[in-house]
Symmetry: C3
Subunit: 369 residues, 3 copies
């Protein structure tokens, strides 16, 4: 299958500069594209690579256009890339139909074009809407709902009463609706499990990565808001509510009852403590730990997380701390000399001293470590 640049431009909402009739057969990165490929320029730092690319045409923003090249000019090259790739790589759909090796419980209703692979186990009274796909080895508990066009990859487990919306994707090995982590009693002998009688609600257009865990609520629902994207190995605890369009990067985690606004981003390996509120569009940096509420639009880093500017300032200062200890000791000696009248050591202002002492800082530091 090939498309002209004009056809692709129409699809992605861009305009062609150069040869609109040029045909391309695929999409590849700038350095791998051949004369039959379309490519894309996602960041100005790759302008040189764009100039050197053998691609037949390049998707790019207007400000970054390489001169003398066929191009499809767009506002956001990545959004255009996503649309163009769907032309060349339409999503493979599992064939509709119920495998003879699938097991479906009583009272479960299947919509049009549902696909149940072999070794799928569906509980009782479930509702699988049109064109939903359960790949091999998926297990659903009783009373689970899966919305239209949703896809559950192999080995996904969904506990009873969970509700998944339309166009939801869950990757292999993820677990939706397992019990929240709730026990009563402080003693090691007397811990009693608090029954977790709520459920999980995954709204429309959510994508969940591999080996993700989303716990059911103690009461009510744990909610993953519409359009939210969750990467691999993420933990979402009981009674968490995640607003629309949020992003949880790999290995991040949210403790119980914390609420995220819309468009919140948790970067990789970050975490949020329980019972917090993270405002709309708040961003938590990689490996950071949020221990208090965040205002809308906040950008925090560190563990505990603080405003990103304060964090950078502190980190820069921390690099200078070993030397600072020596400077203060020197000041103390000098001032003791002045105060006692027994003699005054020379103290150089810092700007002059910095150059001459950098080697010494290193040596002293090694002793300190």
């Amino acid at each position: 299958v090939t498309y002209t640049l004009a056809e692709i431009a129409a699809r992605v909402g861009g305009t062609v500069r150069g040869d609109a009739g040029r045909r391309v057969a695929g999409i590849r990165p700038l350095d791998q594209a051949g004369p039959d490929d379309l490519s894309f320029l996602g960041h100005p730092r790759y302008r040189r690579a764009a100039a050197d690319s053998r691609a037949a045409g390049i998707i790019a923003a207007g400000a970054d256009l390489p001169s003398g090249r066929n191009a499809i000019v767009v506002d956001d090259p990545y959004v255009a890339l996503a649309a163009a790739m769907e032309l060349f790589h339409p999503a493979e759909r599992a064939a509709p139909g119920v495998s003879p090796q699938a097991i479906v419980g009583e009272g479960t209703r299947l919509g049009q074009g549902v696909s149940l692979g072999p070794l799928v186990v569906v509980g009782r009274r479930c509702v699988l809407s049109d064109r939903s796909v359960l790949m091999p080895g998926v297990v659903l508990g009783d009373d689970v709902a899966v919305g239209a066009d949703s896809v559950l990859h192999p080995g996904v487990v969904v506990y009873a009463r969970s509700i998944l919306g339309a166009r939801v994707t869950v990757h292999a090995g993820s677990v939706i609706g397992s019990d929240g982590f709730g026990y009563a009693g402080a003693g090691t002998e007397s811990r009693a499990k608090i029954p977790q009688v709520g459920n999980v609600v995954i709204e429309d257009d959510v994508e969940i990565g591999a080996c993700v865990t989303v716990d059911r609520a103690t009461f009510g629902s744990t909610v993953v808001g519409r359009g939210t994207k969750i990467d691999n190995l993420v933990q979402v605890a009981h009674n968490v509510v995640i607003g629309e369009g949020s992003i949880l990067v790999a290995q991040s985690g949210i403790a119980g009852s914390t609420r995220l606004g819309r468009g919140v981003i948790l970067a990789g390996q970050s975490g949020a403590a329980g019972h917090l509120t993270l405002g709309d569009r708040a961003v938590v940096g990689a490996k950071s730990a949020v221990l208090q509420d965040l205002q809308p639009g906040a950008f925090v880093l560190g563990s505990p997380a603080v405003d990103h500017r304060a964090w950078k300032r502190e980190q820069a200062s921390l690099r200078r701390l070993p030397d600072l200890l020596r400077r203060v000791a020197r000041l103390e000696r000098a001032l003791a000399g002045l105060a006692s009248g027994t003699g005054v050591r020379t103290v150089k202002p810092r700007t002059a001293a910095r150059r001459s002492r950098s080697g010494g800082a290193g040596r002293g530091g090694r002793r300190a470590g």
Copy 2:
């Protein structure tokens, strides 16, 4: 099903204040409870919510009783809640029996009332005790023992020779008994796998979350002590020994051969290095990393983890470090002036200076970042 407050009080070991004959049909949080619901007051900060609640009765500690309300007075509202919830939400038990689509190896013995769901695979010479439940898709290796009343959720994998006690729950996707991470040889070419010939022992009353990994021992056993509760996505390495009644919160991890005492708590995303001993009731804060032995009762924070008081002190100091750098530079200039006799800059004591310089600290900090 409904119960009177008197019936519930008898069950949870409390006393009724108000109308002991009042009937309730369910349990709900204070803000969601209706006139047919029982509710609970778990923390004094919700006293106002308790006063405003429409609940028919409230489980509460004596010191927190809302005036003029029916109440069940108890010592620990959460323990009472756990007991009361079991009245209204008795644990659902899988129907006993062996699915015709389950596969059971030679020499395996099944107790009374065992439930094997479809697509379960059990190895040879296993022992499944009375009323144990293997949900769909569970796989057990050879020579595995599962104690009475234990429940393995869908997709759990238990490697050969693992031993699980009574009333153990393992949630979906968890892996018990996979090989410990042990290799010999430093070179990239010559790494040799050290066979992991030990096993895993899970004692009675342990609950393990979803997508948890517990590795088998190199020699001997990796042990999870009685009554310990493990949250989702936790890693327990080979030869770890966890004492009774410990708590491992989500995404925490314990490296090889480390020993935890009784009632140890690892908060979310925390970790302990290998070959350590963590004393009874030691507490490791969220995202902290323990790199040395902990005394019984220790409470540590940070990475590397230090005593929680020292950590808080350091964190408070760290917030002031960028400003401290400027203060020391100022002192150096002032002292240089004094010492050289060329002029003395005014130096204000810190208490006076703090107010006047807070703006400058911010501006300077941004440059430093």
Copy 3:
């Protein structure tokens, strides 16, 4: 089965000191070994345990030999241990053959001696080489290749077009080839998924732990280099390339497009940001976060990770920071007194002051926290 020390020495490339004809029936740690067991001394700190052990013989390096004991003298005791253990614990191989309850797609080719357990699902056009083993519940997508002598443990899921080399082991619950985490569009409403059309390549002799996720590339391949060992719950994002013989310890993660050289080590719970290059033999300490390229041989710690010496220096300094704040305040007051001529406070040099003020530091710190 028993072996003489001479037979074992020949197998592990060592020499016997003492009774070469002494027979042993197993291998056990020093403190557990009986008179029929071989044991091993892996570190000088266990010399005393070696002297006290009841073992019939001890594998040890020449420098650590316990006097008066039968010994097998080797260069690297752990490498020798690995080889000796294989004598006593030969890897159990699944019986060859295809279970009648396995499902194999059209066009898939099976080599000699392949073992497919029950409830295995293999897609179309796959290639399973000689003696490869798919344990119960493994699911392979279409066009997957598995090399000779590779073993996939129960519940492993491999997405379409992934390529696994020879002698690869993947433990239970791991997911190879799920979609990379790539979306376009900053707004919460407009996020578009970028199709992930690349694949995963796992080279020969790789071992992957339980519940590990390795994402497919957006374009091209995510690559895990030959001989690399990956522990449990590790995340490898799309387009990552890992060199030969690297080590990724439990719960570590690598963000998209980052490249690791040969022999790189990521310790437990550590992470590397995206689009970085980590040079050969670079070592990232536990819980550290790499935010910039690393030179070959670098050893970094912290979050953000810095050279390990600098990190230790900073940590040592940080312990002293609360006290430093008090020292600077004291200097400021003293200097203000000097400068104004209103009086001079006594300032003691630090070495003298340290002893007398340690108690005060503690009290002040608690207020600061």
